[in-house]
Assembly symmetry: C3
Homo-oligomer: 343 residues x 3
């Protein structure tokens, strides 16, 4: 990264206050500004950094500019937060996409690799797999038989995608995530547990992002489904036959047990557990660490293990914290009552 | 997959009702039947699908057949669920096992590879490791020094098995699971934590299945042990020196801390935590998300964090939910009592 | 491993009681001693094993020796536990470090590999990465662009370290851990969630050990930081922009949400969840499975979800378990009160 203040100002249509040749080579959060770095200030409570920051260039919301000169070069814009996002997106696009098949990858002769695809070294692509245009597959990835991956996806190093799974367009799968491992299905017998074959697959729709070290199991029959636009954090378990709708956000270390159905626009907190065979509606909020053991209607907010209404849980928890006092009050009442009886 | 109704009927000794040349190329769950697919109906509550399903062939329990002709071809058997399982197992066996050493694997000259073994590309087998007959090791697996793997195992892509660990016959280890990483052992000193060498190993007995992204740590000295027939789901932590008996089922994201001993035929729910140095008996059920901090006797069912008897937890939780009401009742009693005192 | 009793005695300056030529080829925990193995006894409650153990050689604290002869050969020292640790460390050092670049690794021509480095097969080192002296990188590791790794580190098989992350000296990163994956940052819009570029990095200071299957996300801008001497167990989530200080111990399956700051010498239990944007002080103890949703002062011990003072939680939990009885007492009081009113 190496830009002048005037280059940056031109990207975001900003007004320079100070040295337009100031050079930046990196980006800092405003609390830890470094010389030669760019940062931004969009809120009044950070505006004292305009005077004290070591950053060389700061993008600032124009209403926060109070003087004619500052130590750093400022770039004044309407909304510094938005302009900074625009800039970061631009920067990421400038990095370009990787392209080409690296030496040392293993691609089956029947696999179909579209144009402008990147396949890194030590990646293994099995028979009849199909990789869509512009998709980047980093080193050391495993792609099973008949897998279909759409356009413009990014599959990070060490991801594993098992036979016949389907991934849409514009998806990101982070490192060491496993898609299409066998579901956890066993028949109990007197001698032990007998494996139930897991013959379905996983379908991941367009615009899904899945973090690192997740396990998304294949269906017993049919498909485990992750709907369009859903974003899944790290270390998450999605069991066999789960169906997740569109635009959900699921935080790290949550787990969804088998055959549960989840609607659209839900927010599921970190370390939440959801039992199998239930239905979560739409726009539901599940607080972190909750244990959900029954179906949930649209727009509910829930908390606790087992999870109940968020407000009810908090109200009960206040009394839980106060239980020693509550019991003391009962003791007093009993003593009073006895006193009275003895009167 | 491509079978006619008559081929399927012959595998499971069923009676065809309809077109015996009907062709199936896949399998659907009955709720989402597709044309050209096979499904099954074993319960009365699904029998309306006999008339409405798009499936081409349906295996059905004979007592559910009420008419002479149906739209799909039916295959009537005594127990449709069992017959379907038989069929799925048959189908999986037909897929065959992979065999042979793929180009691009790295196998130490002192390693012993038995007959009919598959070793995928980019798999690394260290010195003096031994791989038993018929075992399949997928691409990108790491096998450490002196590791012993039994017969007919399947080790999925990206699994890591560290030095001197031992795996029995007929085991399945899924992708990105790490067996024999160092236990978490540090000596506190004034300057910081000093690593305690972890010199033991992990022993996995016959017929064990371990899901993806699990961490099974090696013992400090001696062995961490997973007993015969035990099934472990995804994202599970088994700490150093844990001993797990036979035929346990452990659900996703559970964690067992160091040196704990677990008997046989236990069921451990998802996201359960078990502290170190305790003893879980046999046939114990631990509900999901429980935190077990003391030893548990045979046949108990427990819940909560810290975990107590399942029924006691549920009973107390009912009152927990009702605490605001309970406290209101105490307020009333106190007011009444004051009123009386004032009388 | 093959040593005589006299060799071992010389390493730890011990006094032999018995056959000084006794040969050991392995190490057992004292509860499961094996012939030909070494063990140790440092506590009186284990001293009956001096007579019954099958071990060939036992290191024993001198105050526990009560007779002139025992079946196994004894090596008497002041503190058997410490001497055993010394011995195990010595043994591990004897194993030596791996060295050299294995065939089949892929190292970019602009990467800098220092002296005495090991790079295993199928490991991928990207452009301008720098690997310090004596560092061992096992097979199948991914090292991104511009990554800097210090001296004498060990990076286990399947670890992934993304672009521009920095790792200090003497660090251990276990298998399949992902360092520098994108933080989980999305802008909600009416059409769905828009990715916020994650352009920062991860900085891991000296003497840090990170277990297997962990996810340590890169900062949005700036750095996610793991401080000197901190030890992190398996399956742990550290979100973007988290700052962790020195000499912390974090147990398996814990998760720390974005932008939270953690001081020094804290102990964080297994499966703990910490919300984002809060501050944990120093020498704090967080009990396993706790959910921390507000800042915590130095030296507190906390428990519960949401977490409160450890003692308060336990006191309240005693009453929680007793709630059915508590409610019965209220019923009685109400009945008495009614009786009185009716009198």
């Amino acid at each position: 990264m190496e830009f002048t203040a005037s280059q940056i100002a031109s990207f975001i249509d900003g007004k320079i206050i100070g040295d337009e040749t100031a050079l930046i080579t990196g980006v800092s959060p405003i609390e830890n500004g470094e010389s030669g770095h760019l940062s931004f200030i969009a809120q009044d409570r950070f505006s004292h950094y305009l005077d004290t920051s070591k950053c060389s260039v700061i993008i600032v919301s124009e209403n926060l500019v109070a003087k004619d000169t500052y130590n750093p070069t400022l770039i004044a814009v309407k909304d510094a937060y938005l302009s900074f996002q625009v800039l970061m997106n631009l920067y990421q696009e400038m990095q370009g996409r990787k392209q080409g098949i690296e030496d040392g990858s293993s691609i089956h002769e029947t696999a179909i690799i579209s144009d402008n695809v990147y396949v890194g070294a030590f990646t293994y692509v099995s028979e009849k797999a199909k990789i869509g245009e512009g998709t980047q597959i980093y080193p050391q990835v495993y792609i099973g038989k008949g897998v279909k991956i759409g356009k413009n996806c990014k599959i990070d190093s060490g991801a594993r995608i098992y036979d016949y799974c389907i991934i849409g367009d514009n998806c990101v799968i982070h490192s060491n995530t496993v898609i299409g491992g066998d579901g956890f299905g066993f028949q109990p017998t007197a001698e032990g547990f007998k494996k139930i074959p897991q013959l379905g697959n996983v379908i991941i729709e367009d615009d899904v992002e899945i973090g690192s070290n997740c396990s998304i199991d294949r269906a017993t029959i049919g498909s485990t489904i992750i709907g369009k636009g859903t974003k899944i954090d790290n270390l998450i378990q999605i069991a066999h036959n789960v169906k997740i709708g569109q635009n959900n956000v699921i935080a790290a270390q949550a787990g969804i047990a088998g055959s549960t159905t989840i609607g659209d626009w839900n927010q599921i907190g970190g370390q939440v557990g959801v039992v199998g065979h239930i239905k979560i509606g739409n726009q539901v909020k599940i607080q972190a660490q909750s244990g959900v053991n029954s179906s949930v209607s649209d727009r509910e907010t829930i908390y606790g293990s087992p999870a109940i209404s968020y407000n009810d849980y908090l109200r009960s928890y206040v009394h839980f914290r106060n239980l020693p006092e509550v019991v003391k009050r009962i003791n007093n009442l009993e003593n009073n009552s006895k006193d009275k009886t003895n009167e």
